[in-house]
Structure formats: C-alpha cells, structure tokens
C-alpha cells in the first residue's frame, strides 16, 4: 500500500517545490498550500489518478480489477480535457467545447471496451476457471 502511495507523495512534493520556487510576483501567491484550485491543480489531480490506475493495471492479479483501473486512467484523461476546456473558456474562447466532445467519445469508447472486455472475461472464466492474469499464460513464450 505504501509502495503505491509513495510516487504520489513524490509528485506532490516536487510540484510543491516548483510552485514555491516560481516567481510569485507574476503569478500571484502560489505555493503548495495555496488552496486556490487552478488548472494546474486539476492536472495534478488527474496525473495522480492516472498513476493510481497504471499501478493497478500493472500490479493487480484479478483481471476485472485491471479493467476498473483502465477506467480510472480514462477518467484521468477526461478530467484533463474538461479542465483545459474550462481554461480556454475562461481565457475568452467562450464557445470552446472540443474537450467536451473528446470526453464524450472517450466515454463511448470506454463503454464499448468494457462490454467487449467483460465478454472476454466471461468466456475466459468458462474455459480456464480463473480470473488471475498470471495463470492465463497459454501464449507465454
């Protein structure tokens, strides 16, 4: 558990170091414990969710949990798209909705992927009686 939390803490620490070293005269008061949610905070949140998802995909044994981790990764990407859409809207392109389009298509693809993937899981379980990925090694060199 700690091994999964450690990269997240490292990321937070690095970004905190950076924002404290940033020229505060031009950016206003910014630091690690500045609670104002800027676009950067959304990026940090989504990168943390992405890292959690990647850790789950690579480390878990249960294939269903691996699929759920993929959904986490896709959601991290969605947060980025929406945050940048909002960012551009705030800058002045009020009719900017491309990021929301991308998010809708990502959700569509995720739904299709879940349907196909879970179909594969069901038929795999019927044939091999397992959902652990390291026991599904028929094609392993």
């Amino acid at each position: 558990m700690i091994s999964l939390v450690a990269p997240a803490l490292a990321l937070l620490w690095q970004v905190g170091q950076q924002t404290q070293a940033a020229p505060t005269a031009s950016t206003g008061a910014q630091g690690l414990f500045d609670l104002a949610p800027t676009t950067t905070k959304f990026l940090i949140l989504s990168s943390l969710l992405f890292i959690i998802g990647v850790g789950g995909v690579l480390a878990r044994r249960n294939i269903i949990v691996i699929f759920m981790s993929i959904e986490l990764i896709l959601n991290a990407a969605n947060i980025n798209f929406i945050a940048f859409t909002r960012h551009w809207q705030m800058i002045g392109k009020i009719s900017e909705h491309t990021g929301e389009l991308f998010t809708i298509f990502i959700i569509t693809v995720a739904a299709a992927e879940a349907a196909i993937g879970l179909g594969i899981v069901v038929s795999l379980y019927r044939n091999r009686e397992t959902v652990a990925v390291d026991e599904i090694d028929l094609l392993k060199w």
Partner: protein, 200 residues
C-alpha cells in the same frame, strides 16, 4: 483560478474523495469493493465536471459510467467466481508489482516535470489572466433560475465539428454489441448455432 467562492471547498472535497476511492479501487481485496469504490470515484469526477460547468458531460458520466458500465462490471463479478480473493491467503498482486511501482514512480516524475514546465498560468501575460469568469448563465424569462446553455452548445459542437466521429462511434458500438454477444455464448449455444448453419 478557474473556480471561485465556495466552489473551492467542493473542489478539494471531491478531489480527495476521487483520489482516496481510486486508491481503494486498486487496493481492495474484494472485487465488489473495488467496483463500489470506483463508482464513488466516478461520481466525484462527475462533481468536478459540474464544477467546471460541463453539465452535459456530468450527466453522461453518471448515466453511462455509473448507470451502465459499472452495473455491467457488477454483473460480471457476480457471474465470475471471485471467492478466492476474499481469503487472506490468496495473492492480491502479481509478481511484477515491483516493476509496477518503479514505472508509477517514473510516471510521477515525468508528470511533475511536464506540469512544472507547462504551467498554463505562467505562460499567460498578466493582462490575459482571467480574474472573473465570463458567465455562461442566462436568466430564464419564465422563472428565476438561471439556466445553462452547456448541453445546447455541446450538442451543436457534436453535430457540427464531431459529426464524422459521431457516426463512427455508432459503428463502434454496434461492433461492441455483436462482439460481446458472440463472446459470451456458452459452448452449447455455439454448437446449436453451428448445427443450424449446417442444416439450412
């Protein structure tokens, strides 16, 4: 600063809920607990979408993800016997967990470098930096509630800029339907359909 006022507290609460339940999704021993935690993450992310005034995407997220995909996940968990994982003896992680941690750490460093070097608020000139958000809310002439035009604008963009991907997505969903039906057949159903093909 893309949020203001009380939205700040909602941002931190929702971000914390999303991160913690995302972590529990990966770490939970039972797959059902993972699914419930992932549902909480998805709902928190939908709340973040609402904070960023993407109301239509929030609705899609709740309806499609929480109402559709996650229910599918729960059904498959129910079909597939995962009782083995609840025993404390069963291994939760595969043997490559160390490599996973190393890769996650490398990703953390990469992301922090990317965010550090491309902070969107530092690339802006001070006069470009927004102070007050341009409001997209209009007063409804029939009532007192301000209504958002987000769904209308996203719909216009979807059928103008994204018309071709929209049509391609329909083909993709058709392929997904047929593929999942074919994949989830039992051997007996496969044999029956093969016999039907042989005897016209």
């Amino acid at each position: 600063m893309i949020l203001q006022g009380a939205e700040v507290y909602f941002f931190w609460a929702l971000a914390l809920i999303a991160l913690m339940s995302g972590l529990f999704t990966v770490l939970a021993r039972s797959a059902v607990h993972s699914a419930i935690c992932l549902m909480m993450t998805l709902i928190a992310v939908a709340g973040l979408f609402l904070l960023m005034q993407a109301e239509f995407v929030m609705g899609v997220q709740i309806l499609v993800y929480v109402g559709g995909v996650m229910v599918l996940f729960l059904f498959v968990i129910m079909l597939v016997n995962v009782r083995e994982e609840r025993l404390d003896k069963a291994r939760l992680f595969s043997r490559q967990w160390l490599g996973a941690v190393v890769l996650a750490g490398a990703l953390a460093v990469t992301f922090s470098y990317a965010i550090r070097t491309s902070d969107p608020y530092r690339t802006l000139q001070p006069e470009q930096r927004p102070n007050t958000p341009p409001t997209t809310l209009e007063r409804n002439p029939q009532g007192a509630t301000p209504i958002s035009k987000n769904a209308q604008e996203v719909g216009m963009a979807l059928y103008q800029q994204g018309a071709l991907p929209f049509e391609i997505a329909s083909v993709l969903l058709l392929v997904a339907i047929i593929g999942s039906v074919l994949l989830a057949r039992t051997p007996r159903q496969e044999r029956l359909s093969d016999q039907e093909q042989e005897t016209p």
